[in-house]
């Protein structure tokens, strides 16, 4: 850890390391996660899922399941009172399969029983007659194959064309790259409790990223008015994009409606892997040409993303992958073609980094090839091409905000390197716990990578967030539906209120649908969007308080200010000096606001347009030790400099950086859902490998603070950048240590030891 203080301020304001209100309970095991939910008289829900990647359903017989003692209901698609489809934006996914199943794990029926074991037996007793079909599993064949869904097999095809793509510099490098299917692998499996209400509606407590979107989908499928479906946030054990789509919400509510009893559903770990979307696997081809000095002349890319059986957010993942395919580099002439397709593989959607992760692995490998071909240092070649404010993106958009690419490169490269492997602690050698490799076998490599992406949604999406602030005798209460998924919004909301209102005590009301939507906790957007809404609401309350004080003293409110928790006048003659808590005894100030960012625009037929609100970048340098005979890897250190706009809570930023690097390391070296015939072979934390504390490297971080114009407090979202360029930096280091091409992640030991990575 380099330049970030790690001391806490219990009740901090903006810029301080305020303590998380949920931190203590989580550490002590007292925090109630959604899996802990309980209601008297509740039943247990369970989902029956397809064992086939593609099959016709001939018949479903539920009679035997209904005869099992303790079973209260068995529901299928036939029981849905209204819409039979759901989906984050496009409703292309059946709540329960009707005539066909399109992936292994697709819900077919759900049961409610008085005990989990009875529910399990009931699912086993449901007799579904399938007629298996030949599944469409190769994404390269999907576009031309017969459609496996009425909406066709192409989710989106996006071409970005700028300048003269046939222009050529004297140096040309080309490569094909592949990214495996990563899972978000959060710790707290999907869980929720649906409670039927006296008014015919439903109350649903659930771990999710976006309460209001879930509500809309539940209401549509249950045939209820949206206000009859009331959601509140259950304790969330991680999300990373996997809770943006509905999982058990509709099933639980339908069962609650049918049985008139509370329904609890908790997924097992295996079901969790089947029940949420994953990161899109990608096949990417790129060709760069450059002048002899390494300055880019042209860029071409073809990006194929496997979206699996249903659309989810594939449309937008294609946009991000294509828009950011060249990386944070200036290039005048480009042709980038992205396509996302439907297959009978598990559905893919949002995951931290969202399209930018896949292309960053490819463009950074290309930049290293270019550096080698030009005889230029990898850091230097990135500096020579670095985007900056005023430059154009591939989409023609001029960068108006901050984007300190050159600075993050320089600052990451300047961080100190770790000691050489000879003197290092044996515990840090390859082999996890450091026991198999010995120093004589170890080779060290260093790799560098830079990545960027947008913040918030794009292409004209009308994004907003609502917040309410209430102030009464110095106690502020903030209400916002932003889902706390671990990122620390709850801390920031309190810091913002303390800063604007000059109070110490800030209550955060539960996140629920009693207020307007806060949008999703995704796309690195909540600090900006809901932080902006909370700031705006608090400022409205502050203005009302100052008006009240001004009215009582017969002065202009413009003369009043709040400093260090006191209302004072800028005009010394007024002699006003009141604690905020005493400034308006018994008066309640309450304001509810909506916050919106600036308008963006769709992309045209050439993929050109002012589509993105703001951009963010980071650079990573990785140091790895490799035992090449065994293919054993030890990531020794990752150093990073990240563009954060302004760090509102440096310690929380560091938490995001360390967690994002862990996830990037996972994709680089071990995390992959292995499929065979569309079936996930490793749906467990025994076989789906995520890094442990012992696998994590030392992390050095520098926060680059160049406040973003238009952003609340100048802050940018910080959640995604650590995952984007950490993976390619680690793989670049592996290439440096082994001389292998390593064009696919995750890199497996045999790719290094047997040369399979050529």
């Amino acid at each position: 850890m380099s330049d970030i203080a790690t001391t806490h301020a219990t009740k901090g304001t903006i810029g301080e390391n305020a303590s998380r209100p949920d931190g203590g309970p989580k550490v002590r095991g007292e925090f109630a996660f959604s899996g802990d939910l309980w209601a008297d008289g509740m039943l247990w829900g369970r989902t029956l899922r397809s064992p086939h990647p593609a099959a016709r359903i001939i018949a479903i017989d539920i009679a035997a399941a209904l005869r099992i003692p303790g079973v209260h209901a068995v529901v299928t698609a036939a029981d849905l009172p209204a819409s039979v489809n759901y989906g984050l934006e496009w409703r292309d996914q059946p709540v329960f399969a009707t005539d066909v199943v399109r992936y292994v794990g697709e819900p077919v029926a759900a049961v409610a029983a008085d005990h989990p074991e009875a529910a399990r037996q009931a699912c086993e007793a449901i007799d579904v007659q399938y007629e298996p079909q030949v599944p469409l599993l190769d994404p390269a064949e999907a576009a031309a194959a017969p459609p496996i869904h009425p909406d066709g097999n192409v989710f989106r095809q996006l071409t970005i064309r700028t300048g003269d793509p046939s222009a050529r510099g004297p140096i040309v490098v080309e490569g094909a790259y592949e990214v495996g299917m990563q899972d978000q692998a959060f710790m707290g499996p999907e869980a929720g409790l649906a409670i039927p209400a006296d008014d015919g509606g439903i109350d649903l407590i659930v771990s999710t990223q976006w309460l209001h979107n879930d509500r809309l989908q539940v209401a549509e499928c249950l045939g209820l008015a949206p206000e009859k479906v009331r959601l509140s946030l259950g304790g969330v054990g991680g999300a990373f994009g996997a809770r943006e789509d509905v999982s058990l919400q509709i099933h639980a509510c339908l069962l609650a409606q049918r049985t008139a009893r509370p329904i609890k559903i908790v997924y097992s770990r295996e079901e969790s892997f089947l029940g949420h979307v994953h990161r899109h696997p990608a096949r990417i081809w790129m060709r760069h040409s450059a002048e002899a000095d390494g300055r880019l002349v042209s860029f071409e890319a073809r990006i194929l993303l496997d979206g699996g059986a249903y659309r989810s957010s594939s449309y937008h993942v294609v946009a991000n992958a294509t828009c950011f395919s060249a990386g944070p580099y200036k290039v005048e002439n480009a042709l980038a073609e992205g396509i996302g397709v439907r297959t009978n593989n598990p559905p893919c959607g949002a995951m931290r980094g969202f399209g930018a992760v896949q292309v960053c692995f490819a463009h950074e490998a290309q930049m290293d090839k270019l550096a080698e071909a030009c005889g230029v240092d990898p850091v230097e070649i990135r500096l020579r091409n670095a985007l900056a404010t005023g430059d154009r993106l591939l989409t023609g958009q001029v960068i108006e905000g901050t984007l300190p690419v050159a600075r993050v490169i320089r600052e990451a490269a300047a961080l100190p390197l770790p000691p050489s492997p000879e003197i290092a602690d044996p515990m840090t050698r390859p082999g996890g716990a450091g026991r198999t490799a010995d120093a004589a076998h170890v080779r060290r490599g260093i790799g560098f990578a830079v990545g960027f992406k947008n913040l918030m949604y794009a292409e004209g999406y009308m994004d907003g967030s609502a917040a309410r602030c209430r102030l009464s005798d110095g106690l502020a209460t903030v209400t916002c539906a932003a889902a706390e998924v671990g990122q620390g919004f709850v801390t920031l909301a309190q810091q913002i209120a303390r800063t604007v209102l000059g109070v110490e005590d800030v209550l955060l009301a539960p996140a629920d649908t009693s207020i307007g939507s806060a949008g999703s906790s995704s796309a690195s957007r909540q600090t900006w969007m809901s932080g902006g809404a909370v700031e705006k609401a608090c400022q409205a309350v502050r203005a009302a308080l100052l008006q009240h004080v001004a009215d009582r003293h017969g002065i202009d409110p413009a003369q009043l200010t709040i400093t260090d928790g006191r209302v004072t006048s800028t005009d010394a003659r007024d002699s006003i000096d009141l604690a905020v808590a005493d400034a308006a005894p018994g008066v309640v100030f309450e304001e509810e606001v909506e916050y919106h960012h600036r308008i963006t625009h769709p992309l045209d037929d050439d993929g050109q347009g002012d589509a993105h609100v703001s951009l963010v970048c980071a650079a990573h340098r990785a140091v790895v030790d490799v035992d090449p005979d065994l293919g054993l890897i030890r990531v020794v250190q990752v150093a990073t400099a990240q563009d954060v706009g302004r760090a509102l809570n440096p310690l929380q930023v560091l938490g995001q950086i360390e967690g994002g690097i862990a996830q990037g390391l996972g994709l680089a070296t071990m995390e992959e859902l292995t499929l065979r015939n569309g079936r996930i072979l490793n749906p467990s934390f025994t076989d789906y490998l995520i890094p442990t504390a012992l696998d994590m490297p030392e992390v050095l971080a520098t926060l680059v603070e160049e406040p973003e114009p238009g952003a609340p407090f100048g802050a940018k979202g910080v959640g995604e950048p650590p995952t984007i360029s950490s993976t390619p930096a680690i793989v670049a280091a592996l290439r440096a240590a082994t001389g292998k091409a390593l064009n696919r992640v995750p890199v497996r030991p045999q790719d290094i030891a047997l040369g399979d990575g050529e």
């Binding site: 097992s268 082999g431 716990a433 026991r435 076998h441 054993l632 070296t669 012992l694």
Partner: protein, 281 residues
Amino acid sequence: MIPASFDYRRAASADEAIALLTENGDDAKLLAGGHSLLPLMKLRLARPSVLIDISRLADLSYIRADGDQIAIGALTRHHDVEVSELLAREVPLLPAAAGQVGDPQIRHRGTIGGSLAHGDPASDLPAVVLALGGSMVVRGPGGERSIPATEFFAGFMETALAADEVLTEIRVPRLEGAGWSFQKFNRRAHDWAIVGVAAVRRGAGSGANGGGAGVALVNMASTPVRATAVEEALAGGASATEAAAHAADGLDPPSDINATPEFRRHLAQVLVRRALEEAGA
């Protein structure tokens, strides 16, 4: 992840455990640390109708010298093996390997007897006891018998234990200064070995426990297995490198998401070479 239902009985003595096994036959399983059995039950790969809990039989938890050998009670926890001063002095291979079983929580619950009786080819300790030339002391209704490690592992998760027998003690010969090595390859800390090697090299004819090499492999066959081709090559005067080339001879290593058979053969050769080099001549 909830096991099928089962009856639970707690045995107060080894004899009571044997009586309960005799009474319940094949449907019963012994529960010691539970760290091998319970995961299988949760996956419903094992569905015993009766669990006989022997974890409180304190008289089966010990490590003591007995002539040329060290005797270890079957209920001795991995952690106690790992920190035993007697073993560190007399059979350091065993605590070195025990210290690599799972993670600290597992090592404080799991037992050496449970690990051996489970017969999992991916477990570390069976290969270690094979390489050491150890033996198992088992007790049944008819009394006690000793089974050499080489005859103990009968098939995939099957041992020579009869349905009514309890493994009570593991005996391993003192190393008497012989060289040894334990090599464990996994992609991530705390995981099972993808391939592992335990090796012991004694000077020819030296000491009461004889000469020669013992080399055994983790996760290279359907049982914990001795690398007999390596041992024979060494006996014939081969160098470590020459002998290691035979590491996978005659073996049919498993294929799973962690490694292909081809990669396992490669790993076995590299790890056996390193193990022999570390163990010395």
